[in-house]
Subunit: 233 residues, 2 copies
Amino acid sequence: MIEHTNHVSCNSCTIRTFPLFRHLNNEELQNISLNKITEIHKRGSIIYQEGNRMKGFCCVQKGIIKIYKTGFDGKEQIIRFAQSGDIIGYRSVMSNEPACTTTKVLEDSILCHIPTEILLGLVKTNGNFAVELMKLTCKELGEANSYITDIAQKTVRERLAEILLHLDNEFEADINGILKISLTREELSNIVGTATESIIRLLSEFKNEELIELKGRKIKILDKPGLKYIANI
Amino acid sequence: MIEHTNHVSCNSCTIRTFPLFRHLNNEELQNISLNKITEIHKRGSIIYQEGNRMKGFCCVQKGIIKIYKTGFDGKEQIIRFAQSGDIIGYRSVMSNEPACTTTKVLEDSILCHIPTEILLGLVKTNGNFAVELMKLTCKELGEANSYITDIAQKTVRERLAEILLHLDNEFEADINGILKISLTREELSNIVGTATESIIRLLSEFKNEELIELKGRKIKILDKPGLKYIANI
DNA sequence: CGGTACGTTGAGTCATATCAACCATAGTGG
DNA sequence: CCACTATGGTTGATATGACTCAACGTACCG
Protein backbone atom coordinates (compact mmCIF):
# COMPACT_ATOMS: atom_id res chain seq x y z
CA MET A 1 0.00 0.00 0.00
CA ILE A 2 2.93 2.29 0.67
CA GLU A 3 5.67 3.30 -1.73
CA HIS A 4 8.54 5.59 -0.93
CA THR A 5 9.13 8.36 -3.37
CA ASN A 6 11.97 10.75 -4.02
CA HIS A 7 12.13 13.72 -1.75
CA VAL A 8 10.69 16.84 -3.23
CA SER A 9 12.14 19.90 -1.59
CA CYS A 10 9.60 21.74 0.56
CA ASN A 11 10.82 24.85 -1.20
CA SER A 12 9.17 23.82 -4.42
CA CYS A 13 6.02 22.42 -2.78
CA THR A 14 2.89 24.48 -3.42
CA ILE A 15 1.71 23.87 0.12
CA ARG A 16 4.47 26.19 1.24
CA THR A 17 2.21 29.09 0.33
CA PHE A 18 -0.64 27.93 2.59
CA PRO A 19 -1.21 30.03 5.74
CA LEU A 20 0.39 27.55 8.08
CA PHE A 21 3.68 27.34 6.23
CA ARG A 22 3.78 30.86 4.85
CA HIS A 23 5.92 32.15 7.67
CA LEU A 24 8.69 29.59 7.41
CA ASN A 25 12.05 30.87 6.26
CA ASN A 26 14.38 29.02 3.91
CA GLU A 27 16.39 27.52 6.71
CA GLU A 28 13.29 26.10 8.37
CA LEU A 29 11.97 24.71 5.09
CA GLN A 30 15.35 23.18 4.40
CA ASN A 31 15.31 21.55 7.81
CA ILE A 32 11.92 20.00 7.10
CA SER A 33 13.02 18.87 3.66
CA LEU A 34 16.01 17.06 5.10
CA ASN A 35 14.06 15.28 7.82
CA LYS A 36 10.79 14.40 6.17
CA ILE A 37 9.84 11.09 4.60
CA THR A 38 7.56 11.24 1.59
CA GLU A 39 5.28 8.29 0.89
CA ILE A 40 2.61 7.37 -1.61
CA HIS A 41 -0.39 5.72 0.03
CA LYS A 42 -2.96 3.85 -2.03
CA ARG A 43 -6.71 3.95 -1.44
CA GLY A 44 -7.63 1.85 1.58
CA SER A 45 -4.27 2.20 3.27
CA ILE A 46 -4.33 3.13 6.95
CA ILE A 47 -1.84 5.81 7.94
CA TYR A 48 -2.21 5.50 11.69
CA GLN A 49 -4.72 4.05 14.10
CA GLU A 50 -6.36 4.92 17.38
CA GLY A 51 -3.92 4.21 20.16
CA ASN A 52 -0.76 4.55 18.04
CA ARG A 53 2.08 6.56 19.47
CA MET A 54 2.89 9.19 16.87
CA LYS A 55 6.46 9.88 15.86
CA GLY A 56 5.40 12.95 13.94
CA PHE A 57 2.66 14.48 11.90
CA CYS A 58 1.78 14.31 8.20
CA CYS A 59 1.38 16.96 5.59
CA VAL A 60 -1.01 15.91 2.83
CA GLN A 61 0.47 16.87 -0.50
CA LYS A 62 -2.19 15.18 -2.58
CA GLY A 63 -5.20 12.92 -2.09
CA ILE A 64 -8.08 12.63 0.32
CA ILE A 65 -7.89 11.14 3.80
CA LYS A 66 -10.75 10.09 6.06
CA ILE A 67 -10.28 10.72 9.78
CA TYR A 68 -12.56 8.78 12.10
CA LYS A 69 -13.05 7.41 15.57
CA THR A 70 -14.29 3.93 16.32
CA GLY A 71 -17.25 3.81 18.67
CA PHE A 72 -18.13 1.23 21.28
CA ASP A 73 -19.69 -1.29 18.90
CA GLY A 74 -17.08 -0.77 16.20
CA LYS A 75 -19.06 1.77 14.22
CA GLU A 76 -16.99 4.48 12.57
CA GLN A 77 -17.68 8.12 13.29
CA ILE A 78 -16.07 10.29 10.64
CA ILE A 79 -14.67 13.44 12.22
CA ARG A 80 -13.28 15.20 9.18
CA PHE A 81 -11.47 14.77 5.89
CA ALA A 82 -8.02 16.02 4.97
CA GLN A 83 -6.87 16.98 1.52
CA SER A 84 -4.04 18.80 -0.19
CA GLY A 85 -2.49 21.31 2.21
CA ASP A 86 -4.03 19.87 5.36
CA ILE A 87 -2.02 18.35 8.16
CA ILE A 88 -3.02 15.31 10.18
CA GLY A 89 -1.82 13.79 13.41
CA TYR A 90 -0.59 17.05 14.89
CA ARG A 91 -3.15 16.93 17.69
CA SER A 92 -1.63 13.80 19.21
CA VAL A 93 1.88 15.11 18.66
CA MET A 94 1.18 18.37 20.43
CA SER A 95 -0.72 16.89 23.36
CA ASN A 96 1.72 13.99 23.55
CA GLU A 97 -1.10 11.47 23.71
CA PRO A 98 -1.72 8.34 21.65
CA ALA A 99 -3.72 8.98 18.48
CA CYS A 100 -7.44 9.17 19.19
CA THR A 101 -8.49 8.75 15.57
CA THR A 102 -7.75 6.44 12.68
CA THR A 103 -6.84 7.82 9.27
CA LYS A 104 -7.56 5.95 6.07
CA VAL A 105 -6.80 6.92 2.51
CA LEU A 106 -9.88 7.52 0.34
CA GLU A 107 -8.02 8.76 -2.75
CA ASP A 108 -4.42 7.83 -3.51
CA SER A 109 -2.31 10.25 -1.54
CA ILE A 110 1.18 11.65 -1.25
CA LEU A 111 2.11 12.29 2.35
CA CYS A 112 5.13 13.88 3.97
CA HIS A 113 5.93 12.58 7.45
CA ILE A 114 7.60 15.22 9.59
CA PRO A 115 9.08 14.27 12.96
CA THR A 116 7.71 15.51 16.27
CA GLU A 117 10.78 17.52 17.22
CA ILE A 118 10.47 19.68 14.15
CA LEU A 119 6.85 20.57 14.91
CA LEU A 120 7.63 21.35 18.54
CA GLY A 121 10.72 23.27 17.51
CA LEU A 122 8.75 25.44 15.10
CA VAL A 123 6.02 26.18 17.64
CA LYS A 124 8.68 27.19 20.16
CA THR A 125 10.90 29.28 17.93
CA ASN A 126 8.67 30.70 15.21
CA GLY A 127 5.95 32.82 16.78
CA ASN A 128 4.06 33.36 13.55
CA PHE A 129 3.97 29.65 12.88
CA ALA A 130 2.67 29.07 16.41
CA VAL A 131 -0.10 31.59 15.84
CA GLU A 132 -1.09 30.00 12.53
CA LEU A 133 -1.16 26.53 14.05
CA MET A 134 -3.27 27.83 16.93
CA LYS A 135 -5.63 29.41 14.41
CA LEU A 136 -5.97 26.13 12.59
CA THR A 137 -6.65 24.20 15.78
CA CYS A 138 -9.11 26.80 17.00
CA LYS A 139 -10.95 26.64 13.69
CA GLU A 140 -11.23 22.87 14.00
CA LEU A 141 -12.41 23.24 17.57
CA GLY A 142 -15.07 25.73 16.53
CA GLU A 143 -16.29 23.36 13.84
CA ALA A 144 -16.36 20.46 16.28
CA ASN A 145 -18.44 22.49 18.71
CA SER A 146 -20.88 23.41 15.96
CA TYR A 147 -21.19 19.82 14.97
CA ILE A 148 -21.93 18.76 18.54
CA THR A 149 -24.80 21.23 18.56
CA ASP A 150 -26.09 20.04 15.19
CA ILE A 151 -25.93 16.39 15.98
CA ALA A 152 -27.60 16.95 19.34
CA GLN A 153 -30.41 19.11 18.05
CA LYS A 154 -31.05 18.54 14.36
CA THR A 155 -32.84 15.64 12.71
CA VAL A 156 -31.03 13.23 10.43
CA ARG A 157 -32.68 14.88 7.43
CA GLU A 158 -31.40 18.30 8.44
CA ARG A 159 -27.93 16.98 9.12
CA LEU A 160 -27.70 15.17 5.79
CA ALA A 161 -28.63 18.35 3.92
CA GLU A 162 -26.01 20.23 5.88
CA ILE A 163 -23.32 17.63 5.26
CA LEU A 164 -23.98 17.63 1.52
CA LEU A 165 -23.54 21.40 1.45
CA HIS A 166 -20.46 21.14 3.58
CA LEU A 167 -18.88 18.53 1.31
CA ASP A 168 -19.74 20.66 -1.70
CA ASN A 169 -18.01 23.56 -0.07
CA GLU A 170 -14.94 21.68 1.05
CA PHE A 171 -14.29 19.69 -2.11
CA GLU A 172 -15.08 21.86 -5.07
CA ALA A 173 -17.32 20.13 -7.62
CA ASP A 174 -16.10 19.04 -11.05
CA ILE A 175 -17.26 20.55 -14.36
CA ASN A 176 -20.55 18.70 -14.19
CA GLY A 177 -21.24 19.94 -10.68
CA ILE A 178 -20.66 16.54 -9.17
CA LEU A 179 -19.16 16.35 -5.68
CA LYS A 180 -15.47 15.60 -5.97
CA ILE A 181 -15.44 13.31 -2.96
CA SER A 182 -16.85 9.86 -3.54
CA LEU A 183 -18.31 8.18 -0.48
CA THR A 184 -20.22 4.98 0.11
CA ARG A 185 -23.67 5.23 1.66
CA GLU A 186 -22.15 3.76 4.79
CA GLU A 187 -19.50 6.46 4.95
CA LEU A 188 -22.14 9.13 4.57
CA SER A 189 -24.03 7.54 7.44
CA ASN A 190 -20.82 7.58 9.47
CA ILE A 191 -20.54 11.33 9.04
CA VAL A 192 -24.17 12.10 9.77
CA GLY A 193 -24.27 9.62 12.62
CA THR A 194 -27.13 7.42 11.53
CA ALA A 195 -27.93 4.06 9.91
CA THR A 196 -26.97 3.34 6.30
CA GLU A 197 -30.59 2.60 5.40
CA SER A 198 -31.68 6.00 6.66
CA ILE A 199 -29.17 7.72 4.40
CA ILE A 200 -30.38 5.70 1.42
CA ARG A 201 -33.99 6.63 2.05
CA LEU A 202 -33.20 10.29 2.59
CA LEU A 203 -30.99 10.55 -0.47
CA SER A 204 -33.78 9.20 -2.62
CA GLU A 205 -36.20 11.61 -0.96
CA PHE A 206 -33.86 14.47 -1.83
CA LYS A 207 -33.70 13.12 -5.37
CA ASN A 208 -37.49 13.00 -5.67
CA GLU A 209 -37.65 16.55 -4.36
CA GLU A 210 -35.17 17.51 -7.11
CA LEU A 211 -32.63 18.78 -4.60
CA ILE A 212 -29.91 16.45 -5.83
CA GLU A 213 -29.14 14.11 -8.70
CA LEU A 214 -27.80 10.62 -8.01
CA LYS A 215 -25.74 8.29 -10.13
CA GLY A 216 -24.30 5.64 -7.86
CA ARG A 217 -21.83 7.41 -5.62
CA LYS A 218 -21.85 10.51 -7.75
CA ILE A 219 -23.92 13.24 -6.15
CA LYS A 220 -24.81 16.46 -7.92
CA ILE A 221 -26.38 19.28 -5.98
CA LEU A 222 -29.23 20.87 -7.91
CA ASP A 223 -30.84 23.15 -5.36
CA LYS A 224 -28.48 24.68 -2.84
CA PRO A 225 -31.02 27.09 -1.35
CA GLY A 226 -33.44 24.20 -0.95
CA LEU A 227 -30.86 22.19 0.96
CA LYS A 228 -29.96 25.20 3.07
CA TYR A 229 -33.60 25.61 3.94
CA ILE A 230 -33.85 22.00 5.01
CA ALA A 231 -30.61 22.25 6.98
CA ASN A 232 -31.78 25.41 8.77
CA ILE A 233 -28.82 27.46 7.67
CA MET B 1 -24.12 41.80 38.01
CA ILE B 2 -20.57 43.02 37.66
CA GLU B 3 -18.37 44.61 40.28
CA HIS B 4 -14.84 45.74 39.80
CA THR B 5 -12.37 44.61 42.37
CA ASN B 6 -8.86 45.59 43.30
CA HIS B 7 -6.14 44.19 41.17
CA VAL B 8 -4.47 41.18 42.64
CA SER B 9 -1.01 40.74 41.23
CA CYS B 10 -0.73 37.68 38.98
CA ASN B 11 2.40 36.90 40.94
CA SER B 12 0.39 36.00 43.99
CA CYS B 13 -2.39 34.23 42.08
CA THR B 14 -2.48 30.47 42.56
CA ILE B 15 -3.38 29.97 38.92
CA ARG B 16 0.17 31.01 38.09
CA THR B 17 1.25 27.47 38.95
CA PHE B 18 -1.14 25.86 36.45
CA PRO B 19 0.52 24.32 33.36
CA LEU B 20 -0.46 27.13 31.03
CA PHE B 21 1.05 29.89 33.12
CA ARG B 22 3.93 27.96 34.63
CA HIS B 23 6.39 29.14 32.03
CA LEU B 24 5.78 32.85 32.38
CA ASN B 25 8.62 34.88 33.82
CA ASN B 26 8.20 37.76 36.25
CA GLU B 27 8.26 40.36 33.55
CA GLU B 28 5.49 38.65 31.62
CA LEU B 29 3.38 38.19 34.74
CA GLN B 30 3.93 41.82 35.62
CA ASN B 31 2.78 42.84 32.15
CA ILE B 32 -0.43 40.86 32.56
CA SER B 33 -1.02 42.25 36.03
CA LEU B 34 -0.75 45.80 34.74
CA ASN B 35 -3.12 45.27 31.82
CA LYS B 36 -5.78 42.99 33.19
CA ILE B 37 -9.15 43.98 34.55
CA THR B 38 -10.51 41.89 37.39
CA GLU B 39 -14.27 41.63 37.81
CA ILE B 40 -16.70 39.83 40.07
CA HIS B 41 -19.62 38.31 38.16
CA LYS B 42 -22.74 37.14 39.96
CA ARG B 43 -24.70 34.01 39.10
CA GLY B 44 -26.73 34.51 35.93
CA SER B 45 -24.46 37.18 34.50
CA ILE B 46 -23.44 36.74 30.86
CA ILE B 47 -19.77 37.34 30.16
CA TYR B 48 -19.96 37.34 26.38
CA GLN B 49 -22.39 36.17 23.74
CA GLU B 50 -22.32 34.44 20.40
CA GLY B 51 -21.36 36.96 17.77
CA ASN B 52 -19.49 39.32 20.12
CA ARG B 53 -16.12 40.60 18.98
CA MET B 54 -13.70 39.74 21.73
CA LYS B 55 -11.21 42.28 23.02
CA GLY B 56 -9.39 39.63 24.98
CA PHE B 57 -9.79 36.42 26.88
CA CYS B 58 -10.70 35.64 30.49
CA CYS B 59 -8.90 33.74 33.18
CA VAL B 60 -11.29 32.23 35.72
CA GLN B 61 -9.92 32.80 39.19
CA LYS B 62 -12.94 31.45 41.02
CA GLY B 63 -16.45 30.23 40.22
CA ILE B 64 -18.11 28.09 37.58
CA ILE B 65 -18.99 29.21 34.06
CA LYS B 66 -21.27 27.49 31.57
CA ILE B 67 -20.22 27.67 27.92
CA TYR B 68 -22.92 26.94 25.38
CA LYS B 69 -24.07 27.41 21.82
CA THR B 70 -27.60 28.35 20.84
CA GLY B 71 -29.16 26.03 18.29
CA PHE B 72 -31.61 26.83 15.51
CA ASP B 73 -34.74 26.85 17.69
CA GLY B 74 -33.05 28.63 20.57
CA LYS B 75 -32.19 25.49 22.52
CA GLU B 76 -28.90 25.65 24.40
CA GLN B 77 -26.20 23.10 23.78
CA ILE B 78 -23.72 23.14 26.62
CA ILE B 79 -20.21 22.61 25.29
CA ARG B 80 -18.20 22.67 28.48
CA PHE B 81 -17.79 24.29 31.86
CA ALA B 82 -14.93 26.42 33.08
CA GLN B 83 -13.75 26.73 36.64
CA SER B 84 -10.78 28.00 38.63
CA GLY B 85 -7.67 27.99 36.45
CA ASP B 86 -9.48 27.61 33.12
CA ILE B 87 -9.43 30.24 30.43
CA ILE B 88 -12.37 31.17 28.22
CA GLY B 89 -12.73 33.15 25.03
CA TYR B 90 -9.23 32.41 23.78
CA ARG B 91 -10.55 30.47 20.79
CA SER B 92 -12.19 33.51 19.27
CA VAL B 93 -9.22 35.68 20.11
CA MET B 94 -6.77 33.34 18.42
CA SER B 95 -8.83 32.73 15.32
CA ASN B 96 -9.87 36.36 15.19
CA GLU B 97 -13.52 35.43 14.72
CA PRO B 98 -16.62 36.57 16.61
CA ALA B 99 -17.41 34.41 19.63
CA CYS B 100 -19.27 31.26 18.68
CA THR B 101 -20.43 30.48 22.20
CA THR B 102 -22.17 32.26 25.03
CA THR B 103 -20.75 32.13 28.56
CA LYS B 104 -22.94 32.45 31.61
CA VAL B 105 -21.98 32.40 35.27
CA LEU B 106 -23.35 29.45 37.24
CA GLU B 107 -21.52 30.19 40.49
CA ASP B 108 -20.36 33.66 41.47
CA SER B 109 -17.02 34.14 39.78
CA ILE B 110 -13.91 36.25 39.78
CA LEU B 111 -12.60 36.81 36.27
CA CYS B 112 -9.49 38.49 34.93
CA HIS B 113 -9.88 40.02 31.47
CA ILE B 114 -6.62 40.02 29.57
CA PRO B 115 -6.35 41.90 26.27
CA THR B 116 -5.84 40.21 22.92
CA GLU B 117 -2.39 41.69 22.28
CA ILE B 118 -1.00 40.11 25.41
CA LEU B 119 -2.19 36.64 24.43
CA LEU B 120 -0.85 36.98 20.89
CA GLY B 121 2.38 38.43 22.21
CA LEU B 122 2.92 35.52 24.57
CA VAL B 123 2.21 32.93 21.86
CA LYS B 124 4.71 34.66 19.60
CA THR B 125 7.51 35.27 22.04
CA ASN B 126 7.25 32.53 24.65
CA GLY B 127 7.63 29.15 22.98
CA ASN B 128 6.80 27.16 26.07
CA PHE B 129 3.62 29.13 26.59
CA ALA B 130 2.68 28.50 22.94
CA VAL B 131 3.21 24.78 23.42
CA GLU B 132 1.09 24.72 26.58
CA LEU B 133 -1.72 26.65 24.93
CA MET B 134 -1.60 24.28 21.95
CA LYS B 135 -1.78 21.35 24.35
CA LEU B 136 -4.81 22.82 26.02
CA THR B 137 -6.56 23.45 22.73
CA CYS B 138 -5.69 20.00 21.42
CA LYS B 139 -7.06 18.44 24.58
CA GLU B 140 -10.31 20.31 24.10
CA LEU B 141 -10.41 19.27 20.48
CA GLY B 142 -9.89 15.64 21.41
CA GLU B 143 -12.72 15.84 23.91
CA ALA B 144 -15.00 17.49 21.37
CA ASN B 145 -14.29 14.71 18.87
CA SER B 146 -15.05 12.07 21.49
CA TYR B 147 -18.30 13.77 22.30
CA ILE B 148 -19.31 13.88 18.66
CA THR B 149 -18.84 10.12 18.53
CA ASP B 150 -20.77 9.57 21.74
CA ILE B 151 -23.67 11.76 20.83
CA ALA B 152 -23.88 10.18 17.39
CA GLN B 153 -23.71 6.60 18.57
CA LYS B 154 -24.81 6.25 22.16
CA THR B 155 -28.32 6.29 23.57
CA VAL B 156 -29.51 9.04 25.88
CA ARG B 157 -29.29 6.64 28.81
CA GLU B 158 -25.65 5.85 28.03
CA ARG B 159 -24.78 9.49 27.56
CA LEU B 160 -26.41 10.56 30.82
CA ALA B 161 -24.41 7.96 32.74
CA GLU B 162 -21.26 9.18 31.05
CA ILE B 163 -22.00 12.83 31.76
CA LEU B 164 -22.63 12.14 35.44
CA LEU B 165 -19.26 10.42 35.71
CA HIS B 166 -17.63 13.20 33.79
CA LEU B 167 -19.09 15.88 36.07
CA ASP B 168 -18.02 13.88 39.10
CA ASN B 169 -14.53 13.76 37.70
CA GLU B 170 -14.33 17.42 36.71
CA PHE B 171 -15.84 18.92 39.85
CA GLU B 172 -14.72 16.97 42.85
CA ALA B 173 -17.56 15.97 45.17
CA ASP B 174 -18.05 17.46 48.63
CA ILE B 175 -17.66 15.57 51.89
CA ASN B 176 -21.01 13.85 51.42
CA GLY B 177 -20.11 12.72 47.92
CA ILE B 178 -22.51 15.14 46.32
CA LEU B 179 -21.57 16.61 42.92
CA LYS B 180 -20.19 20.08 43.45
CA ILE B 181 -21.86 21.48 40.35
CA SER B 182 -25.55 22.20 40.69
CA LEU B 183 -27.52 22.02 37.46
CA THR B 184 -31.20 22.23 36.61
CA ARG B 185 -32.76 19.28 34.81
CA GLU B 186 -32.93 21.46 31.74
CA GLU B 187 -29.21 22.18 31.89
CA LEU B 188 -28.48 18.48 32.19
CA SER B 189 -30.62 17.90 29.12
CA ASN B 190 -28.67 20.62 27.32
CA ILE B 191 -25.43 18.76 27.94
CA VAL B 192 -26.74 15.35 26.98
CA GLY B 193 -28.66 16.73 24.04
CA THR B 194 -32.14 15.52 24.83
CA ALA B 195 -35.50 16.64 26.26
CA THR B 196 -35.82 17.71 29.87
CA GLU B 197 -38.51 15.09 30.49
CA SER B 198 -36.17 12.34 29.32
CA ILE B 199 -33.53 13.42 31.81
CA ILE B 200 -36.08 13.45 34.63
CA ARG B 201 -37.25 9.94 33.77
CA LEU B 202 -33.74 8.57 33.44
CA LEU B 203 -32.53 10.17 36.65
CA SER B 204 -35.35 8.53 38.56
CA GLU B 205 -34.56 5.23 36.83
CA PHE B 206 -30.94 5.57 37.98
CA LYS B 207 -32.22 6.34 41.46
CA ASN B 208 -34.44 3.24 41.50
CA GLU B 209 -31.49 1.17 40.33
CA GLU B 210 -29.51 2.60 43.26
CA LEU B 211 -26.88 4.10 41.01
CA ILE B 212 -27.42 7.62 42.32
CA GLU B 213 -29.16 9.44 45.14
CA LEU B 214 -31.27 12.52 44.41
CA LYS B 215 -32.23 15.46 46.58
CA GLY B 216 -33.48 18.21 44.31
CA ARG B 217 -30.48 19.34 42.31
CA LYS B 218 -28.08 17.53 44.55
CA ILE B 219 -26.82 14.35 42.95
CA LYS B 220 -24.75 11.78 44.77
CA ILE B 221 -23.13 8.99 42.83
CA LEU B 222 -23.50 5.66 44.63
CA ASP B 223 -22.31 3.14 42.06
CA LYS B 224 -19.56 4.35 39.76
CA PRO B 225 -18.85 0.94 38.21
CA GLY B 226 -22.54 0.54 37.49
CA LEU B 227 -22.66 3.88 35.71
CA LYS B 228 -19.50 3.02 33.80
CA TYR B 229 -21.09 -0.19 32.69
CA ILE B 230 -24.16 1.64 31.45
CA ALA B 231 -22.04 4.27 29.72
CA ASN B 232 -19.92 1.61 27.99
CA ILE B 233 -16.67 2.91 29.42
C1' DC C 1 -18.97 -18.59 -12.36
C1' DG C 2 -19.33 -17.83 -7.54
C1' DG C 3 -17.84 -14.49 -4.21
C1' DT C 4 -17.80 -10.21 -1.93
C1' DA C 5 -19.09 -5.60 -1.07
C1' DC C 6 -22.43 -2.27 -1.75
C1' DG C 7 -27.12 -0.63 -2.47
C1' DT C 8 -32.19 -0.84 -1.97
C1' DT C 9 -36.75 -1.72 -0.09
C1' DG C 10 -40.30 -3.18 3.23
C1' DA C 11 -42.07 -4.25 7.74
C1' DG C 12 -42.01 -4.07 12.54
C1' DT C 13 -40.20 -2.10 16.84
C1' DC C 14 -38.47 0.99 20.15
C1' DA C 15 -36.37 4.96 22.12
C1' DT C 16 -37.23 9.44 22.54
C1' DA C 17 -39.80 13.70 21.59
C1' DT C 18 -43.91 16.14 22.18
C1' DC C 19 -47.96 17.70 24.41
C1' DA C 20 -50.58 18.48 28.39
C1' DA C 21 -51.70 18.70 33.01
C1' DC C 22 -50.28 19.37 37.52
C1' DC C 23 -47.37 20.19 41.80
C1' DA C 24 -43.78 22.72 44.57
C1' DT C 25 -41.28 26.63 45.70
C1' DA C 26 -39.93 31.17 46.06
C1' DG C 27 -40.23 35.90 45.17
C1' DT C 28 -43.27 40.05 44.34
C1' DG C 29 -46.43 43.64 45.09
C1' DG C 30 -50.68 45.36 46.83
C1' DC D 1 -50.41 38.33 54.81
C1' DC D 2 -52.27 36.56 50.78
C1' DA D 3 -52.94 36.27 45.97
C1' DC D 4 -50.08 36.24 41.91
C1' DT D 5 -46.62 34.90 38.91
C1' DA D 6 -42.58 32.68 37.38
C1' DT D 7 -39.60 28.89 37.33
C1' DG D 8 -38.51 24.36 37.81
C1' DG D 9 -39.85 19.55 38.45
C1' DT D 10 -42.80 15.48 37.64
C1' DT D 11 -45.90 12.23 35.43
C1' DG D 12 -48.81 10.18 31.84
C1' DA D 13 -50.48 9.62 27.16
C1' DT D 14 -49.46 9.71 22.50
C1' DA D 15 -46.86 10.31 18.27
C1' DT D 16 -43.03 9.51 15.39
C1' DG D 17 -38.30 9.48 13.71
C1' DA D 18 -35.01 6.45 13.15
C1' DC D 19 -33.11 1.74 13.93
C1' DT D 20 -33.08 -3.10 13.18
C1' DC D 21 -33.80 -7.12 10.69
C1' DA D 22 -34.38 -9.50 6.63
C1' DA D 23 -34.61 -10.24 1.90
C1' DC D 24 -33.11 -9.24 -2.41
C1' DG D 25 -30.87 -6.63 -6.32
C1' DT D 26 -26.55 -5.05 -8.55
C1' DA D 27 -21.89 -4.73 -9.92
C1' DC D 28 -17.40 -5.72 -10.11
C1' DC D 29 -13.46 -9.05 -9.66
C1' DG D 30 -10.47 -13.02 -9.82
